[in-house]
Symmetry: C2
Subunit: 153 residues, 2 copies
DNA sequence: GTTGAAATTGATAAGCTGTCTCAAGATAGT
DNA sequence: ACTATCTTGAGACAGCTTATCAATTTCAAC
């Protein structure tokens, strides 16, 4: 297997996250496996997924990929700062953190529909609140729960 | 058992919610039972509970009250608009909607300190976003993660 | 107050997510 | 290539919530 120096060109946009993962693995004496690469590539294509949906998606590419591996890997991504877990209903959604600016969610408690939004004004006010309290924000989570038009009948 | 006409005086502050429940029951051909009254009274005393905690709390008053009944009743409260379910970790928290406190948090990723805050302007913008998307907000969660003054050195 | 159809309860079985176990296999430093 | 170590896959397992069903309670109509 040839080893090319990364960071030149022709690398997909997954490069950044792949490097983040590689660094996290190195720091914790973990290994880069075929499964972890496969799952990361598929994960980065989406805004948010459940372990179950990834399991079905990836069954085509690797029928022997186990559900436990998906869970383990998605949790690994959370520790590496690539993903963020969010509990909705009875399931856990894993959000792709790199999709910044579409970080906020409007969630229907009736049907589970998730609408993504961004609002600069809210972000600005968040900064204001943080500064006022001596904080510097690294990330945030804003979820609005309510009923969508259809679920209100 | 004497039957007194309600709604005069000396009723606790649970009156309002009890009426909400009564109306909901009437509208859906459900019945007001001893258990439902008991659970509502205990529920209203608290900000948020899990089914399990209520089960233990109420075991003293009614050792035969079943866990399934607690779950059924708390879900009933949600349908009646008295409670709201929120999934945290692996458990479901049932929030007392009448305790509409502002639950926004500023969390230090360094030392874990949690600062609570409220900001009317943010709330207003949240409503705006929701309305624009056809939603009616029931509740929300806003968490800002960052470093507090001390942890930045 | 009795009566009776319909709803509710309690105990437990079953279901659903997510984690743990462990033998077999893959990875990476030497 | 060798070997210590990590990872995987399959299923067992655990925690939380819902479904089942016979026995009981409610409540509206007598």
């Amino acid at each position: 297997m040839g080893v090319f120096h990364a960071g030149t060109h022709a690398m997909s946009k997954t490069l950044k996250e792949m490097d983040v993962l590689r660094q996290h693995l190195a720091k914790h004496q973990l290994k880069l496996t075929r499964q972890r690469e496969l799952i990361l590539t598929a994960f980065l294509r989406q805004e948010h997924v459940t372990a179950e949906t990834m399991y079905h998606q990836l069954a085509k590419k690797d029928p022997h990929l186990g559900l436990a591996t998906i869970y383990r890997t998605l949790n690994l991504f959370c520790e590496a700062g690539i993903a963020q877990a969010r509990h909705f209903g009875t399931q856990t959604q894993y959000d792709n953190i790199s999709h910044k600016g579409h970080h906020d969610h409007l969630i229907c408690t009736g049907c589970g529909t998730i609408v993504e939004f961004e609002n600069c004004e809210i972000e600005r006010l968040q900064e204001e609140v943080a500064t006022k309290n001596g904080f510097v924000i690294q990330t945030h989570r804003l979820e609005l729960y309510g009923l969508c038009a259809r679920c209100r009948h």
